[in-house]
Symmetry: C2
Subunit: 185 residues, 2 copies
DNA sequence: CCTTCTTAATAGATCGGTCTACATATTTTT
DNA sequence: AAAAATATGTAGACCGATCTATTAAGAAGG
């Protein structure tokens, strides 16, 4: 793959990621992807021959990896799991509010929309969530209920993010943050 | 409104609710609504003159009320908040699995899809979540952190349901159920 | 040269929404 | 009580826009 090809592919993926993040699977219409990325229509099917599902699946995986890396960084600068989780909620809250209540979890919307109907996308979503859970679990090493706790914290974050978007308010995030201490007591 | 009119209106709403529950806003295409409900296309805009947003908003409110009522019943037969929350998770898990991992929260998908772009739907989702939170809060009377806790429990349920759908597995629900005891210690 | 990649026209389906004609109740008038 | 007038609801063809996907031809770059 030449340099130009690689570049267009990346641009398409980034544009898709952006659109999926704010509008889910159906918010990322291919016309819009083409418009935002500046790539021509045909290139889309040259780089992603399996069509939209492949495109969205890859963009989700990429977003998952990026988010995972960001959390990794946050984890290193935290002295406890509670501090880390609070940092995550703070960061996600900032992002959500600054984007005008558009950008929540890059995976959740697609998961709810498509997990029931597309195996490709269900698998992609599942994998991203698993990787996040694993990363979280690693920080809970030594606790008896580490596995349960990791899933619970992730559920809490996802749920809080959903409620915040629904209410267009940080309140749910703040309330959940306060309760985190109890959970991790 | 005559009897027949009321009946068709109800059929349309039920069909929409069904479709929204499994496929979100975009899963409930008007063609499909018409097909499932058996109502003719014209009746749709007779009963819901403001179009799809009105239709979906009403169907969400109806689903919210129905779910709220179901939880009310579950609450009466529970001796503690923990027992109630566990019952809710169990019930939702059954529903999700029995529907082939289709029917999760009837509000969440639309909230994530549309809260950022449609005021009508954002408001409807927000109201349903508020009503559920209020109901939950009522069961926590006497606790210092009742407000925070009510939101946290709802977030936990919504998050667990999302993860369960993404993984097509009850595991997240089970893990969260186990951790609920800690949270409500 | 020849693979890699771009370009734009286009197909065919489906989308939400509108329209007019028609049927069925309900009320009003005589 | 019969007939006429009005309101209520049904029925489905139809509109332009948008959707994902395909195609054939040409440009760029190794």
């Amino acid at each position: 793959m030449g340099q130009k090809g690689t570049a267009t592919r990346a641009r398409i993926l980034t544009a898709t990621q952006e659109l999926v993040e704010t509008g889910g699977y159906f918010g990322a219409g291919l016309n819009r992807v083409v418009a935002v990325s500046g790539a021509p229509r045909g290139s889309l099917y040259f780089h992603f021959p399996d069509g939209k599902d492949q495109l969205v699946a890859e963009s989700i995986r990429q977003a998952g990896q990026a988010t995972g890396a960001a959390f990794e960084g946050l984890a290193e600068s935290s002295t406890s799991v509670a501090e880390f989780a609070e940092g995550v909620l703070l960061h996600l809250g900032d992002r959500l509010e600054e984007s005008g209540w558009h950008k929540g979890c890059p995976v959740a919307t697609v998961a709810l929309e498509m997990a029931g109907s597309s195996d490709t996308l269900q698998q992609a979503c599942s994998e991203v969530y698993t990787s996040w859970t694993t990363a979280l679990r690693a920080q809970l090493e030594g606790r008896r209920d580490a596995d349960d706790l990791a899933v619970t914290i992730l559920a809490l974050i996802e749920g809080a993010l959903l409620l915040a978007k629904a209410h267009r308010s940080r309140e749910p995030l703040d309330r959940v943050t306060r309760q985190l201490a109890t959970l991790l007591r």
